[in-house]
């Protein structure tokens, strides 16, 4: 062994340290051990790098936040590698400042079995850029009928059970899922849309849908499922998480449930607070998502729900799609947008506009989703793994999809002016993304 081969000690100095979990927001430095854990952090960390043989990284005064945690990502591997692979997904993640993510089970084959879960984990370890976790399907083949092996899947690292973009529609199945998952401490993650009410719909019901001659899905389709499910949560005591919350009424239902002390959490995605259903005018299939983009009042309610903490987390809901599946008449086009590389700048819009504090925004992207899935991530703390993201909070630019690392380019945000960008992403003390190197390359 020589000292040159071992990972050196590193110090990331001249940073604005922000750790919402501990309330830290101060100038200072982070000292990282050779094993990739945080040795010390704060304003008091001063290291004489010449004497102590420490590698020093100057953070240029930028914000240093815990590595972002994205709790909803469609990996497309296995099965649809032409849309995205775990490798391209990981490269997109680190470019977006994400160091930990959770993959949804909607792949081909569906992740509904221990061997498939292990396949994802092995592939993730090979790629190695980010911490990749995986959900397991809540029901076999996402068919909404039979439960998967929750116990075995949980022991093998499944972070939760969900049918991803499909609602668990059968009340008895959901009741059993909540009850059975509760003994393994994993949440059931629901896609809240009453399927028979939404059946023919392809966008939000309202004036835009009527003008375009497209069948609408009423906002009520969301709150109907949430309110039904909350009764089942009461009945079972199971942990329940609602994904992609998009309506005022749905948010109100969660707000009331939390006030009553039910074990309920929820997330939303940036498109639900950055866009409303007017974005699909002219049949823009890149703005087709599920649940659909809602009206302006719902969009504002999502922002209010984030501000008051009713909505715990912001997830990208990153859903790569091939161009061919979007270049179709609206009703036939697939739903979904890529989101890993716009997650942070779109969230920062809410901070710059004064809707969210920086502390709340970072919390929704870090410890809040980490805690929902019991992941060891989302905090800056001595002894924790040194996963963090450096952000230039004020630099102005425009979304440029052509520079995205994701293999698919289905973003409705092309050309949108944004403020703030990731300058460096660090996982276990190692730089896995550096904007200067990326731009030079």
């Amino acid at each position: 062994m020589t000292a040159a081969n071992a990972a050196p000690r590193r110090v990331f100095r001249n940073a604005r340290l922000i750790d919402p979990a501990s309330g830290l927001d101060d100038k200072g430095a982070v000292l990282v051990n050779p094993d990739g854990t945080i040795a010390d952090l704060g304003g008091h960390v001063v290291v004489d790098s010449i004497q102590e043989d420490i590698q020093t990284i100057d953070c240029g005064g930028h914000a240093l936040v815990p590595g972002l945690v994205d709790m909803r990502v469609y990996s497309r591997e296995p099965g649809d590698e032409y849309m995205e692979t775990l490798k391209t997904l990981s490269r997109a993640a680190v470019a977006g400042g994400v160091t930990t993510l959770a993959c949804l089970p909607n792949t081909d084959p569906v992740i509904d079995d221990v061997s498939l879960l292990q396949f994802i984990q092995r592939r993730a370890a090979t790629v190695g850029l980010v911490n990749i976790h995986a959900y397991a399907a809540a029901t076999k083949a996402l068919a909404g009928k039979e439960l998967t092996e929750y116990g075995l899947l949980a022991e093998n690292g499944a972070v939760g059970f969900t049918d991803g973009g499909r609602v668990i529609a059968d009340a008895l199945v959901l009741r059993r899922a909540l009850a059975y998952a509760s003994i393994f401490g994993r949440p059931i993650v629901q896609h809240p849309e009453e399927p028979s009410l939404a059946r023919d719909g392809v966008m939000n019901e309202g004036e835009t849908a009527t003008r375009l001659g497209l069948a609408g899905i009423p906002a009520k389709a969301e709150v109907m499922i949430i309110e039904r499910d909350l009764h089942l949560v009461e009945l079972t005591g199971g942990r329940y998480h609602v994904a992609n919350l998009s309506t005022a009424e749905g948010i109100d239902a969660i707000r009331r449930a939390k006030a009553r002390g039910l074990p309920v959490t929820c997330d939303t995605a940036p498109h639900y607070f950055a866009l409303n259903d007017s974005a699909v005018t002219d049949y823009r299939t890149f703005a087709k998502v599920s649940p659909p983009l809602r009206g302006e009042a719902d969009r504002l309610a999502v922002i209010a729900g984030l501000a008051d903490g009713t909505i715990d987390a912001i997830a990208s809901d990153h859903a790569p799609r091939a161009q061919d599946s979007k270049r179709l008449p609206f009703a036939q086009a697939e739903a979904g947008v890529i989101g890993l590389e716009t997650l942070l700048p779109l969230t920062l819009e809410l901070v710059h506009a004064g809707h969210l504090t920086l502390d709340r925004a970072v919390a929704a992207l870090t410890w809040c989703p980490a805690d929902i899935l019991a992941l060891p991530a989302g905090r800056l703390a001595v002894g924790a793994v040194a996963d963090f993201t450096l952000i230039n909070l004020t630099i102005a630019g425009r979304v440029d999809v052509s520079r995205f690392r994701s293999k698919s380019k289905n973003s409705p945000f092309q050309g949108r002016p944004v403020e703030g960008r990731v300058t460096r992403t660090v996982r276990a003390g190692e730089t896995v993304f550096d904007v200067d190197a990326a731009e030079a390359g």
């Binding site: 004036e207 009527t210 375009l212 001659g213 497209l214 049949y283 008449p329 009703a331």
Partner: protein, 328 residues
Amino acid sequence: METSPTSDAGAGAPFAHRHLLGTETLSRGDIEQILDLADGYVDQNRQTDKKNGLLRGRTLINLFFENSTRTRTSFELAGKRLGGDVINMSVSTSSIKKGETLIDTAVTLNAMHPDVLVVRHGDSGAVQLLAEKVNCAVINAGDGSHEHPTQALLDALTIRRRKGRIEGLNVAICGDVSHSRVARSNIHLLNTMGARVRVVAPPTLLPAHIDRLGVDVHHNLAEGLVDCDIVMMLRLQTERMAGSFVPSMREYFYFHGLDYDKLRAAKPDALIMHPGPMNRGVEIDSEVADDIDRSAIHEQVEMGVAVRMACLELLARDQNAPWTRNQS
């Protein structure tokens, strides 16, 4: 014998649009330009020699992804009477997934240098999508539940010739508004022209927030027809009659079918219109439909050819169209 009001497609005021995709984006001036020109074609079509040479050498392709006899025939006649070459293409949608063929078909046809594509498709927005992929002018002959602009224009021509004006008339659009591209195109056009529009249908056949398109909403036909100058009936598709949107054909006719009894609420000289094909005994009673004093249904068909000739002529005036550039 050349009886067209203009003798050359390049003459006359240019048309403000490259395609005709809907009436929502047409101004009052655009609409009047089309109707004025169409008036001349009504006369031409009543002559023995109905042909002029405005579109000589130009190719019109009727591309229909949905079955249609009358609209396709109407466009075919319009194209031929202007001296153009007309080709009909019906694309089967049953065997292959519809969307996969749409852009492929567009690109393939575009390579054959047509001058006008007339397109009907079962999906809202499909014609606009296709228009983005081709160099020629595109006329929307009906896209899903979105728009059917030439139908609204021929309705407007019929109304204007019968009533002498459109502005200020009370127009009731009755029936399956929810799934009707004819209803949407008529609502936009009639509002632009200053008519007062109301829709009459059971709530299951009305889309959400239809009032925001600038119409009054009625659920009772007799009430909805009070003081009406124009009664436009819409076709109810058979598959929507059996329990899904309305309970039965007989219940629909009882409450929403147009007969002399319900028509009494309208003005004595109210004009009855229907885009066809009619379901006799469902949305309209046969006696009313065939009443030559009240019904303009056959006249609508005649106006259809004239309006489509006017649209073709105006789109051919586009100085930026590739074929025009090539000629100059």
